[in-house]
Amino acid sequence: MTKLLKIAGLGGVAAMTALPAMAQDAAADPVPYIMTTLLFLVGGFLVFWMAAGFAMLEAGLVRSKNVTTQLTKNISLFSIASIMYWLVGFNLMYPGEFLISGWLGGFSWTTLEPVGLAAADASLDYASVGSDFFFQLMFCATTASIVSGTLAERIKLWPFLIFTVILTGFIYPIEASWQWGGGWLSEFGFSDFAGSTLVHAAGGAAALAGAIVLGARSGKYVDGKVVPMPGSNLALATLGTFILWLGWFGFNGGSQLAAGTVGDITDVSRIFANTNMAAASGAVAALILTQISYGKVDLTMVLNGALAGLVSITAEPLAPSLLGALITGAIGGVIVVYTVPLLDKLKIDDVVGAIPVHFFAGIWGTLAVAFYTQGWVPQIVGIVSICAFVFVVSYVVFLILNAVMGIRVSEEDEIAGLDASELGMEAYPEFIKG
């Protein structure tokens, strides 16, 4: 089941739907509604937790002179996403009626069901609007989290936050509506279960656009050589990865969008098992590959490998067998190990490896769906159209922001660190830094 189905339940809270009942006598039985709502609530709080995961991962991978700023960006972007998705995003993404059919939803803010909803007024074949909004909001915020890592250590706070407003209020909801809102891509046969492309490659494309407009950190590429700038705290980075791994059970599991029948809850189980397997095999692939390639294991690559495994399986966490999930995830891990240095060769400076993890592995995962379902064409069209749209719009927005207010700190400020120059507050004021 793809997210497409859900729009039936969104036409109106109290409206009767024409869809066939999903479970045996679901019409009157409130259990499926209750269970699916619960799935969204539990899945939603797990995906919420991913915001903390991104914050810790990024705080661990930047140098300590930029940690406060990175933390500030992360908590702020999540907060902004929460507001923008309510203000315009949710209804833009799941329009009752499209403004431009299949391409652009409508503009209105979100209202929930009344308190104490009667069963007769509920979409008994789906879930509560409140839980659905809560769950979907977290995906929107995730997209923005991806961007902050790539652009770390040099983008100014406020231009970044303004970009977040646009990304979470407009860019993400519009492209996501093409598929999950029942737009043209869904009719074209594109398949992306929980968002390898709609969320992850999209976030990666926005990050890529930003990285190009912004340029590399000063001192990163000197005389044709890559200068490593090691992350300040790998314990935090590892914690962040574990948090993301945990949250991903909600991300993929919740995207089943139903939990009230034997079939659905069994499918959710399958998704959990596959998601875990892909993360594990992504990590192991990076573990082995860095040992072979470099002679030493690189923990940051193992962390990225686990995340790449998770991104890869996100487009189709249900259909594969555990062996299939293992293969999909492992290829994700391999992709990361090769594309991290590749980006460096192109002098695209991605501080935390978000583009390899979310963009490249996201594309791989979405392509791999073709092994299980429809043909290659819808997958390629979906990937290209979404990535192109997000990249181009993001690129233009970054250019405009740059022209209007400048998006990058001065070199002097960058050397001093954004914490000193932008915020005047150190994350670890007592630890002397080297």
Binding site: I415, G424, M425, I432, K433, G434
Partner: protein, 112 residues
């Protein structure tokens, strides 16, 4: 032999070390210090309370060089560490009476 103590801006460390290496200086030690000087004194706000930041992060280099290398080293450090902005730092020279390499027991200029 002389001990050269240089206090410079942290981001200049790598450049200065390379410059010193290129003139044949083979050893030194680096420590993090907090510097107080003319550069200090900007105001920050923490949870609504203003305060003056008196110390700025600096890096201290200590190197013992043969008498004949002092001028060269001084010049290399000052030209490389210089940005022309306040806070570039200082270099001091002190006399060293003895030096010894632990590994070999060598003393004097041999030791450095």
């Amino acid at each position: 032999m002389k001990l050269i103590i240089a206090v410079i801006k942290p981001f200049k460390l790598e450049e200065v070390r390379e410059a010193l290496t290129s003139i044949g200086i083979q050893g030194l030690m680096v420590s993090e210090v907090k510097g107080y000087g003319r550069q200090a004194g900007h105001t920050e706000i923490y949870r609504g309370a203003e305060y003056v930041v008196n110390f700025v992060p600096k890096v201290k280099l200590e190197l013992v060089v043969a008498d004949g290398d002092v001028e060269k080293a001084l010049e290399t450090i000052s030209s490389t560490a210089k940005t022309g902005k306040i806070g570039d730092g200082k270099v001091f020279v002190l006399d060293v009476e003895q030096a010894m390499r632990v590994r070999t027991g060598e003393t004097g200029d041999e030791a450095i």
